[in-house]
């Protein structure tokens, strides 16, 4: 994935988007780009024309992970021909070539974390297939939102991690494109003359300033010591236990597998799941190792800032701020982490 | 009058009595005027007022004026007695007042014209006791009548009133009282003659806290008025008797059932009750004995049958005064279902004197079975009518001739009817019968409440029987069939007989019905109602037979059977009968024998009655 040792910069013509869409369509490549729907939400959706593509948005509502780990996917299907006679059919057909055009660098950076999970002790075939067939072209973040804190978790509004290429849009004028990977290079190819290598010395724009709100290292140090802490109860009281933060989190990747069947046909599906749900850890016996919201809240913080770093040496958070923005009761990961940091430094 | 203080003890009473006696020294002049109903009717109250006026104008402040109860000699009212000489004036009128004050009071002169003149001896009697009417009487019941002022308790106390009560409450147990009364031999004066002490004992022995005593003052017998006299003239004696009886029986409440027609009795009794209450002689803790007793007056509504004790109880209870079947007797279940003792006025009045003077004293008076005296109301064709009190055992002759002064107009005595309407008629042959409960019953009459009606030869006994039965037909309550239907039928038969429609067998039917009604009636009204018929049938059967068989009424009463005729030999032609004849049936010139036109004669008998020569004859 990160097999391009040297990043290259390209200068893009104003109509580069139209050119890209035209070329990709000709090649049978599906393009997913930010689209503003009737209700005003922006989400990645298939596009064929540049007019459909939204550019003035902070971030997609549903994070980029949904392209590689759909909220529901059929793993296998089965047909029942008769009693005791069940035929298992293959799951979903492998996806074709796709280009994601316009995700934010934070979402793309999350792919690094997902990759480490889905290629860890077991290679997740559907994920891998989608990952392989998809080129991720992110748009560098010029105007971060009030909830953004990517810099506090090792990222940057202009981070290229996880992207195959990064586009730096500047108003309606010409843009810069930074190729990160071979897939990114291939994408530039498809642009033809609309992308010209940038003049040497062309500097990338400076990323916008963001306040660093906490230090993940210090957080981890505290977490290592404080599995049991009254703080968990205090910060979890108002949590309602919904899955909004998990589902909108670009790095959360827990899933549930269910069978859905009728009289003679069935599907085994993989769906998003959330550690905030009270039944997430419930055993068939009725026992629940995380019996209350306090433990479930703790799990989410622990997973992102202790267990994940322990295992993959990186925090499972890209600082997109969706969780804080979408919480109905103002439950705020940043504030929890700030509290933890203040606990650490009395 | 001293201040009306409560008499806490017998000693208080004695002290009061001493004060009263002292105040009324024997030498003091006192004008005592009878204020009984009879004398009042003849103007005694106006007389009293006149005396007051004239004494005042004469400046005679120290002369006492006193209104007393009935003296009994009502025939001659108004009666006035001047003390201390006890000069007895009768038939005093307003015009005599000035003379009496002037002569008798101021100058101690007797006015002979106002004195009673004995028709036999022609002697004038200066004091009451000399009057033959009183001479043969023994006044125990009437001990205070005519002497004390009934509206002043001090008079009563001065006359030893309430001494008996004080004695009883101070030292006798109820049993002792009952025994004393029983020992005295006192029997109920209401008619039944039941031994009073025994009656009390029965009531006393009934279980239950609440008991009542009742004084039967519903004097219903026509012509009888001795109870009225007592209630009017000596009310405290009644109250004292009742209080003693209540103590003996264990009652704390008494009722005085007074005949509605006796307003004066009610008034005087009310005064007496109020005074007795004030003096602590009624109410709570009488004489400090812890004994409580109150009396309530109930006015009767004028039914003869309310004199029957169960009828009387029903009347007090607010029901129609109708007797009920006994048993249970009132002593067991009487007023409001509680043991109740009923005695009549005269009986109650005897009680204080018995306890004051002792049973043996009382028992010494009278006959073997009947002790004490009896008050009779002597009426009818006698010269002296009024209330007479004689010892039990006095003969009819004594009463009728000695006291009553014999038959009017020198006619022949025929019979005396005793015991009220349900009593019997006693013929001349039994005139020497000593009068007591048992003797009267033996001869088919009864004591009753003491009515005594004297009849002369001008009395038809069938008519008399019919008269009394007519009264009873009207007074029967109508509850039980024998009395209601039987007496009525008897009356019908009698009516027929006197109308000349008598039939063979009527007398047997009368006897049969009479015995039936007596035996089968519910109460004693029915039980005695046939008496007038049965007793007249017993002694005067021939008169009935004459009515039926000969269609003749020898007494000239039964109009259908009578023919008046004037004996031309005897008639002097004085025209008296002619003038009095209401139908101008008599004709005849002066000094000529008169004759009666039978066609116009209505047989009223006026001619017969007015003829001074006996010329009018009955056929």
């Amino acid at each position: 994935m990160n097999d391009v040792s040297e990043t290259k910069l390209y200068r893009l013509e104003a109509d580069w988007l139209d050119a890209a869409l035209g070329a990709l369509e000709r090649d049978g490549v599906e393009v997913l780009a930010p689209v503003k729907d009737e209700d005003g939400s922006v989400n990645l959706a298939p596009v064929t024309a540049s007019s459909e593509v939204a550019t003035d948005y902070l971030n997609a509502l549903i994070p980029l992970k949904s392209v590689f780990m759909p909220r529901t996917e059929v793993l296998i299907e089965y047909e029942r021909a008769g009693v005791g006679d069940v035929e298992v059919l293959p799951g979903a057909a492998p996806a074709g070539q796709r280009v994601v055009l316009g995700c934010r660098p934070c979402d793309a950076r999350a792919l690094v974390m997902l990759d480490s999970v889905f290629n860890w002790d077991y290679e997740d075939v559907p994920y891998r297939a989608r990952r392989d067939s998809t080129t991720v072209v992110s748009w560098a973040c010029m105007d971060p939102g009030p909830h953004c804190f990517c810099t506090s978790v090792g990222g940057s509004p202009h981070s290229a991690e996880g992207s195959d290429a990064v586009v730096y849009l500047a108003g309606s004028g010409p843009a810069l494109l930074q190729v990160v990977t071979a897939k990114g290079a291939a994408f530039v190819e498809s642009l033809g003359d609309r992308a010209q290598p940038a003049a040497d010395g062309t500097a990338l724009p400076e990323p916008p300033e963001l306040e660093t709100k906490f230090d993940t290292g210090e957080i981890k140090t505290w977490l290592d010591e404080n599995f049991e802490s009254e703080l968990w109860e205090e910060v979890s009281l108002r949590c309602l236990g919904c899955g909004a933060c998990s589902f909108l989190c670009p790095t959360c990747h827990c899933f549930d597998i269910v069978d859905e069947s009728t009289w003679k046909h069935g599907e085994r599906r993989r769906n998003w799941d959330s550690c905030a749900f009270c039944q997430f850890t419930q055993h068939a016996s009725g026992h629940n190792p995380r019996p209350n919201q306090t433990t479930r809240c703790r799990q989410r913080v622990m997973h992102k800032f202790k267990y994940f770093p322990d295992r993959f040496e990186q925090v499972a958070c890209v600082g997109c701020g969706r969780c804080a923005q979408n919480c109905g009761v103002g439950q705020n990961l940043v504030s929890i982490l700030s509290r933890i940091q203040s606990e650490e430094k009395p | 009058m001293t201040e009306a203080t409560r008499l806490q003890t017998p000693d208080d009473l004695a002290a009061l009595r001493a004060r009263v006696v002292e105040r009324r020294s024997a030498k003091k002049v006192c004008v005592s005027i009878c204020a009984g109903t009879g004398c009042r009717a003849q103007g005694s109250m106006e007389l009293l007022a006149e005396f007051g006026r004239q004494l005042e104008s004469a400046g005679l402040d120290d002369v006492e004026l006193r209104a007393t109860g009935c003296h009994g000699f009502c025939e001659r009212g108004p009666l006035v007695v001047i003390h201390p000489r006890k000069i007895f004036y009768h038939s005093v009128q307003m015009k005599h007042v000035a003379d009496i004050i002037d002569k008798t009071i101021q100058h101690d002169e007797v006015l002979p014209a106002l004195l009673f003149r004995d028709p036999k001896t022609k002697q004038r009697c200066e004091v009451e006791g000399e009057v033959p009417f009183y001479a043969k009487q023994q006044r125990i019941v009437f001990r205070h009548n005519g002497i004390i002022d009934p509206t002043d308790i001090e008079d009563y106390v001065g006359a030893d009133g309430y001494v008996a009560l004080a004695k009883v409450l101070a030292g006798m147990t109820p049993e002792q009282v009952c025994d004393e009364v029983e020992a005295s031999g006192l029997r109920g004066r209401g008619g039944g003659g039941f031994p009073t002490g025994k009656k009390w004992q029965i009531c006393r022995n009934q279980p239950g806290e609440t008991k009542y005593v009742i004084c039967n003052g519903d004097e219903g017998d026509p012509g009888a008025f001795m109870d009225r006299s007592i209630m009017e003239g000596d009310p405290h004696a009644v109250l004292e008797g009742m209080t003693i009886g209540a103590y003996a029986i264990g009652a704390s409440k008494g009722y005085l059932y007074v005949r509605g027609e006796y307003p004066l009795a009610v008034a005087n009794l009310n005064v007496a009750i109020e005074q007795a209450k004030t003096r602590g002689l009624l109410g709570d803790d009488i004489f400090g004995s812890g004994f409580n007793f109150t009396v309530e007056i109930v006015r009767g509504a004028g039914a003869f049958v309310c004199g029957e004790e169960t009828g009387l109880i029903a009347s007090i209870e607010g029901d129609i005064g109708t007797p009920r079947q006994r048993p249970p007797y009132p002593a067991e279940s009487g007023l409001w279902g509680k043991p109740t003792n009923i005695n009549n006025v005269e009986t109650w009045t005897n009680v204080p004197v018995i306890l004051e003077r002792g049973a043996s004293w009382f028992a010494s008076i009278g006959t073997e079975g009947s002790k004490g005296t009896k008050v009779f109301s002597l009426v009818g064709k006698v010269n002296n009518t009024g209330l007479v009190e004689v010892p039990m055992g006095a003969t009819l002759r004594e009463i009728v001739f000695d006291i009553g002064g014999g038959i009017q107009k020198k006619r022949k005595f025929k019979a005396v009817q005793t015991g009220g309407p349900s009593g019997g008629c006693i013929p001349e042959s039994l005139l020497d019968l000593p009068v007591d409960f048992d003797k009267l019953r033996e001869v088919g009459a009864m004591m009753g409440s003491g009515g005594l009606i004297v009849m002369d030869e001008r009395t038809c006994m069938v008519d008399v029987a019919k008269y009394f039965l007519g009264f009873l037909v009207g007074e029967s309550c109508g509850r039980c069939a024998p009395c209601r239907e039987g007496v009525f039928q008897m009356h019908r038969i009698l009516s027929r007989i006197v109308e000349g429609e008598g039939r063979e067998g009527d007398l047997e039917t009368l006897e049969k019905l009479g015995n039936y009604v007596k035996a089968s009636s519910l109460c004693q009204l029915g039980g005695t109602a046939p008496n007038p018929v049965l007793s007249t049938l017993r002694y005067f059967r021939h008169e009935y037979e004459a009515h039926i068989k000969e269609k003749k009424c020898r007494a000239g009463i039964c109009k259908e059977l009578v023919q008046f005729r004037i004996d031309p030999e005897t008639c002097t032609g004085c025209t008296l009968c002619r003038r009095d004849c209401p139908t101008e049936a008599i004709t005849g010139a002066k000094k000529e024998p008169h004759r009666i036109d039978a066609a116009q004669c209505i047989k009223c008998g006026v001619c017969y009655d007015v003829c001074n020569f006996g010329a009018v004859e009955v056929e």
Partner: protein, 609 residues
């Protein structure tokens, strides 16, 4: 126990009893007039006098009022007694020569012919009473009427006025009484029949119609519901009973020798746990007044078949004498109309055949001929449906033997004319119009279910058809059962039925019921709800919807006994398994066994495959 001697025999009496009571105990009859068991005695008439010979004050006393006392020696028919009694009877007879009771007593007690004069000519009736009302001449002044009104019933509408021979029973001031409640107790207790409350009551007195005789006669508040009732015991009709209307009376309680009446007794809901219920609510007739052309309800001589049945019944209002309700004359001609309201597809009638009318009309024709030998009977019919053993033969005999003339056709109109009812109808067999002048018309009205049968069915949760007849579980296989286990049908509540069919169904229902109850244990449907206590929220919305009260709170306790939750609990005995709770439960914490969500889910899956 008090012991006394009556007529030489030893008698026993309780405290408070009278000589009369004691004599009765010995079977000695003492005549009475003014005595009534319910009313305290007064001893007024003296007919009951007996002679006390010893043990008390000797003499004649009234047996009814004289207490039985220890040691009394009593003669009830001594010479004195006989004489007194005879005289009393004579005296009363003299007053009331017409009184039957006195005449009878006179015969019995040898009261010689009247030799006495009658008393007052008349006892005046109260003002305003029409002349001739009542029979005041029969009043013997015993006072029972006064006492019953005053002491037992309470209003004291009557009282004695006057005394002695002028005593009479009257109302206060002789005015018509406003307080009289018209109960008739006075008339009831009157020994001579002298009093009639209608005479002095200021308002009209409503009599109670005898329901069993369909209002053709009247009854008292205490009555036998019908002859041969089972149990054959009188019943008390609270609505009309004086005691329950005014609080007075209660005489029945006093006089019932068995002490069987308890007026304090309250209606009580008797709860019985039963193993089976047989519904036999029967039928009634359609009210034929909906057909104005027949004039039922307007013409008294137009009656229903059921009314006719009462009119010819020996135990009926006329004691079996068939008379026209209008004038009491025997009907010389009679017309029976069949199918009144039956087999009618439109209109107020019923579409079904009432099944029993053909047969009972034929029977009625025969009964009619038995009662009125020279009478003429006609029957209008649509079809004769005489399906049944010997039925056809019976009907044929009636028509062939000219018991009745059968006319096939409908009647169009009935109207009165000249004291008769003219029946206009069609005779479709001859094709002509018929007009019959009848004395009486009998309508064979349609059989309909009893009123209230549907309400009962709703309570029992059994089904019924559009006519209100109760439905069997299966017309062929389960004809006496209902849809609800343990409930069976018998008789006409199910459909129009004649007697043999009803008996057959009743026998079948009884057998079915017995089949259930003979077992110690009842096997029942296991389809009841079960609560999942792990998921129940304890909101108790299920309790709200349960029609059986089967759901109640249950405390869930931890090991220390502390209540940790209050959850729904289903009483399996009460639950009927309807499933309403299941549907109401949002957390799906109740399952009705046999109809679980899983089972139904599978069923839906299977159906839609």
């Amino acid at each position: 126990m008090i012991k006394l001697h009556i007529d030489g025999q030893e008698a026993e009496a309780e405290e408070g009893q009278t000589i009369l009571d004691a004599a009765k105990g010995l079977g000695i009859e003492i005549p009475t007039l003014c005595h009534h068991r319910a009313i305290p005695p007064v001893g007024a008439c003296r007919v009951c006098v007996v002679e006390i010979r010893d043990g008390g004050r000797p003499g004649l006393v009234p047996a009814c009022a004289y207490p039985a006392q220890e040691g009394l020696v009593v003669e009830t028919a001594s010479e004195a007694v006989r004489e007194s009694r005879s005289m009393t009877i004579q005296l009363l007879l003299a007053r009331c020569p017409e009184a039957e009771v006195l005449r009878k007593l006179a015969e019995q007690w040898d009261a010689p012919p009247l030799t006495l004069d009658a008393p007052l000519d008349h006892v005046e009736p109260p003002k305003g009473v029409p002349e001739g009302a009542g029979d005041r001449d029969k009043c013997i002044l015993c006072g029972l009427c006064v006492r019953v009104c005053q002491d037992i019933i309470g209003p004291a509408a009557t009282a004695f006025a006057g005394r002695g021979i002028e005593r009479k029973v009257t109302t206060p001031y002789k005015l018509l009484s406003d307080v009289c409640i018209g109960c008739g107790a006075c008339a009831l207790v009157c020994p001579t029949g002298a009093i009639d409350p209608a005479e002095f009551c200021s308002h009209s007195i409503e009599k109670i119609p005898n329901e069993f005789n369909l209002g053709f006669d009247t009854r008292t508040p205490i009555h036998l519901p019908f002859p041969q009732a089972v149990p054959n015991k009188p019943i008390l009709d609270r609505e009309n009973c004086i005691h329950f209307r005014t609080g007075g009376c209660g005489a029945c309680e006093t006089i019932c020798p068995a002490g069987a009446i308890d007026l304090e007794m309250e209606d009580e809901i008797v709860e019985e746990e039963v193993g089976a219920i047989i519904v036999a609510t029967g039928y009634e007739l359609l009210d034929p007044s909906v057909y104005e052309e027949y004039g039922y309800g307007r013409y008294p001589d137009v009656v229903t078949s059921l009314e006719f049945e009462r009119l010819v019944s020996a135990s009926g209002p006329t004691n079996g004498e068939l008379t026209r309700p209008s004038n009491g004359e025997p009907p010389k001609s009679i017309v029976f109309l069949q199918c009144i309201g039956s087999r009618e597809e439109t209109g107020p009638g019923k579409p079904y055949c009432s099944k029993i009318c053909c047969m009972y009309t034929a029977k009625h024709a025969i009964l009619y001929k038995h009662k009125v030998h020279d009478g003429q009977a006609f029957v209008f019919f649509m079809d004769v449906r005489a399906g049944g053993k010997n039925y056809e033969e019976f009907v044929r005999r009636v028509s062939k033997e000219k018991v009745a003339t059968y006319l096939r056709g409908r009647v169009s109109k009935i109207f009165p004319h000249d004291g008769k009812l003219v029946v206009q109808g069609a005779d479709t067999l001859s094709g002509g119009q018929v007009e019959i002048a009848a004395d009486m018309v009998v309508l064979a009205a349609a059989v309909v279910p009893s009123k209230g049968a549907t309400e009962l069915a709703q309570k029992l949760r059994i089904s019924y058809d559009q006519h209100g007849f109760l439905s069997e579980a299966h017309p062929k296989l389960r004809p006496v059962e209902t849809n609800t286990a343990g409930i069976f049908l018998a008789g006409a509540c199910h459909s129009a039925k004649d007697i043999p069919d009803s008996v057959a169904q009743a026998s079948a229902a009884a057998s079915k019921a017995l089949g259930l109850v003979v077992h110690d244990r009842l096997t029942r449907e296991p389809t009841i709800g079960i609560v999942n206590e792990l998921t129940c929220n304890g909101c108790f919305e299920c309790e709200n919807v349960c029609a059986y009260g089967a759901i109640s709170p249950k405390d869930i306790k931890d090991r220390s006994g502390a209540t940790v939750a209050v959850l729904a609990n289903i009483n399996e005995g009460l639950c009927q398994g309807c499933g309403a709770c299941m549907v109401t439960c949002r957390s799906k914490s109740i399952e009705v066994q046999g109809y679980t969500d899983n089972q139904l889910f599978s069923e839906i899956n299977a159906i839609t495959r």
